[in-house]
Every structure is written in structure tokens, then in C-alpha cells.
């Protein structure tokens, strides 16, 4: 039962253009969403987050949009740079009692072409 889905295994974008990575979820009770970035042979690094009470959060070149009615979020990178080439994971916060768990998507590999 995949509660967080990233349906595009890979995405190729020209340098300088906008990269849009998508994520869908099934549980309307998720309270928080995060994006992580992963380079080969390294662990994921936190990129940006958004609370379920917001519809947009921006941090420099990175913006995350949340559409709760569609259970969909997206990460926009503008402009895309070669260093953005990595695997991007979407994750949702699931609260359990007094603890929480991250529910991860399978990741999307972003390739920025020069």
C-alpha cells in the first residue's frame, strides 16, 4: 500500500529552465510534507518542507506547492542548475500516538542537461 507516490522515475530538464517534480498521496491525514535530495553514494539531505495548512512554501530557487483537494504536491526548481541533478524524494509525516513516521515515495531522478 503506497501512501506516497512519485510516478515519474526520472525527469530530464534543460539547464536554466524550470524543473517540476510531482508527488501524490492517499492519506488525507498527513500533516506535513518534506522533500529530500540525494546524490549518489550519499544519504538524503533535507531540502524543503510544507505544512498541510499552507499551499506554498518558498526557499530560494525551490518552491513547494500543496493541493490538498487533489492530494498532490509539487517541487519547482527555478532556474535549474547542473548541481540539481540528483534523486528527489517526497515524504509525508504520519503521526502515531506521541511519535511520527516519515512515509517515503520511491524518488524521481532529475537530470539537468547543459
Amino acid at each position: 500500500d503506497q501512501q506516497v507516490k512519485q510516478n515519474s522515475p526520472s525527469l530530464s530538464v534543460q539547464e536554466g529552465r524550470i524543473s517540476i517534480l510531482n508527488c501524490d498521496y492517499t492519506n488525507s491525514m498527513f500533516d506535513y510534507f518534506l522533500w529530500y535530495k540525494k546524490y549518489p553514494a550519499e544519504g538524503p539531505t533535507f531540502l524543503i518542507s510544507i505544512s498541510s495548512i499552507k499551499d506554498k512554501n518558498e526557499d530560494g530557487r525551490f518552491t513547494v506547492f500543496l493541493n490538498k483537494s487533489a492530494k498532490h504536491l509539487s517541487l519547482h526548481i527555478v532556474p535549474s542548475q547542473p548541481g540539481d541533478s540528483a534523486v528527489y524524494f517526497c515524504a509525508a509525516i504520519k503521526f502515531m500516538d506521541s511519535n511520527y513516521q516519515l512515509i517515503w515515495g520511491a524518488g524521481t531522478k532529475l537530470i539537468i542537461k547543459p
Binding site: A41, P44, T45, S49, W104, G105, A106
Partner: protein, 117 residues
């Protein structure tokens, strides 16, 4: 601040052998996680510690996997005996114990790539 340290970085073993991984979290981070990441999938939580107590180990295959966190700092994850399907990257992460937005941000080590033949 120093990041999450893991060792070894790579390990190749035969099935039915044993293996252990070590993790040193970021100083001051009370919460520590072990994840298993199979190629093409997102990380899967195996166990979560709060200080030296287990908070969640519901997805840990306890017949072969074990983990401990001595003195609430370093942690080891052991597999005994290993199976072919255990081939994966094992990631350790840590986060701040306090509640709130930044408590959700987990900091990951580079991982240990395990190959079981």
C-alpha cells in the same frame, strides 16, 4: 557541526553470514533511525530510538535483525543470518528530540551498501 557517521561504507557477505553496521549521530540529536533502502525504492524505517529506548520497531524483521543504542549515542544494527533479499543500502539518520517543525528534519549518514551473495 559534524554529520552522521556510518561504517563500513560497503560490505559484501555470503548468505547466512552475519554483519553489523555502526552509526554515530549528530551530537545532541536524541532520536536515531535505521532505514533500509532497496534500489528504486524510498527508505523504509526499520527502527527508531529516542535516546536509548526503542520508539518504533514494527518493521524490523526481528528473527534476523537486531539493533541497540548504547548510552543513547552510537548505535549498531546487526543482521544474523543474512539473506539475499537483505541486499540494500542501510541508512542511519538522526533528528532533534524537541517537538516542532525542525524535529521532522532528519539528517542522514552516507549509508552502508550491503551485498549478500
Amino acid at each position: 557541526e559534524a554529520g552522521v557517521a556510518q561504517s563500513p561504507r560497503y560490505k559484501i557477505i555470503e548468505k547466512r553470514q552475519s554483519v553489523a553496521f555502526w552509526c554515530n549521530p549528530i551530537s545532541g540529536h536524541a532520536t536515531l533511525y535505521w532505514y533500509q533502502q532497496i534500489l528504486g525504492q524510498g527508505p523504509k524505517l526499520l527502527i527508531q530510538f529516542q535516546n536509548n529506548g526503542v520508539v518504533d520497531d514494527s518493521q524490523l524483521p526481528k528473527d534476523r535483525f537486531s539493533a541497540e543504542r548504547l548510552k543513547g549515542v552510537d548505535s549498531t544494527l546487526k543482521i544474523q543470518p543474512a539473506k539475499l533479499e537483505d541486499s540494500a543500502v542501510y541508512l542511519c539518520a538522526s533528528s532533534r528530540a524537541t517537538w516542532g517543525r525542525r524535529a521532522y528534519e532528519q539528517y542522514f549518514g552516507p549509508g552502508t551498501r550491503l551485498t549478500v551473495t
